[in-house]
Amino acid sequence: MSSSRLRITERSGITCIGFIDRNILDEANIQRIGEEISRVIDAQVQPRILINFENVDHLSSAALGTLITVNDRIRAKDGQLRLACIDPQIHKVFVITKLINLFQIHDTLEDALKSFS
């Protein structure tokens, strides 16, 4: 059985990451997700990564922390990160924390894919 918590696919040179779990809450799970995404980043020279939240209906502040770390690692390699398909309640979390100013968030996958340079 695979222990991966992510679905990873490639589209036009962009790595698309989706989540298997609807809730990104518990610490062990969040840590595992962070490690998996870090491996994806490490494997690329200039990562172009799209994280798809369409299956996610809950996340915690710890998950936000992991996303910030992921963003830092991608920027350190002069890469690009986009987030897409975020549930309205979770979007509110990004607004309240003002992380909407840190991440590029798009309503749809297509919009997010088009936004990569």
Binding site: T69, T97, K98, L102
Partner: protein, 159 residues
């Protein structure tokens, strides 16, 4: 602040939780099922779930400092239009007013420190009771009267 009326609250449920995901998940399910049974909508369930999760994480991580031998007390009271939740850790307590604002520019890229902000934003009221190791959160159904805890039917039979 704590007062006598609050301490006389009769709780719907009282638990002492070990730092194990299954135990926490079980209590969370019961709490959220209780809300759903009382007709609280999805936004309310999202808010309470988030507030409860953040409070538990803070209790085990910051209060108990990951000590596997230490437990956390959880109490909640379900009422027709609101839920009151208390989470108490075994730590010395802290002053929430000294927690840095995670939304200012210099803190925006720090990976931690957003739990209390989210609890305050999604719950109707939160307060830390002396010495700061017990948080009491209330979620009140929007539009319901008796938004203030002062109107609590303290001591009434739990549902």
């Amino acid at each position: 602040m704590s007062d006598g009326a609050h301490d006389k609250l009769q709780w719907t449920a009282v638990y002492t939780l070990p730092p194990q995901d299954e135990a926490m998940a079980q209590v969370e399910r019961e709490l959220l099922d209780g809300l759903a049974a009382r007709g609280f909508d999805d936004a309310a369930v999202f808010a309470v779930k988030l507030g409860f999760q953040e409070a538990l994480v803070n209790a085990f991580v910051h209060g108990n400092r990951h000590d596997p031998a230490k437990t956390v007390d959880v109490r909640y009271r379900l009422e027709p239009d609101r839920v009151i939740i208390e989470v108490e850790d075994r730590g010395k307590g802290f002053d929430p007013s000294v927690v840095p604002d995670p939304t200012i520019e210099e803190n925006l890229t720090k990976p931690t420190g957003r739990g209390i902000l989210l609890m305050r934003a999604f719950m109707s009221n939160i307060e830390y009771l002396p010495p700061g190791n017990r948080v009491r959160m209330t979620y009140t159904r929007p539009g319901a009267s008796g938004d203030s805890e002062a109107s609590s039917s303290a001591g009434a039979a739990s549902s």
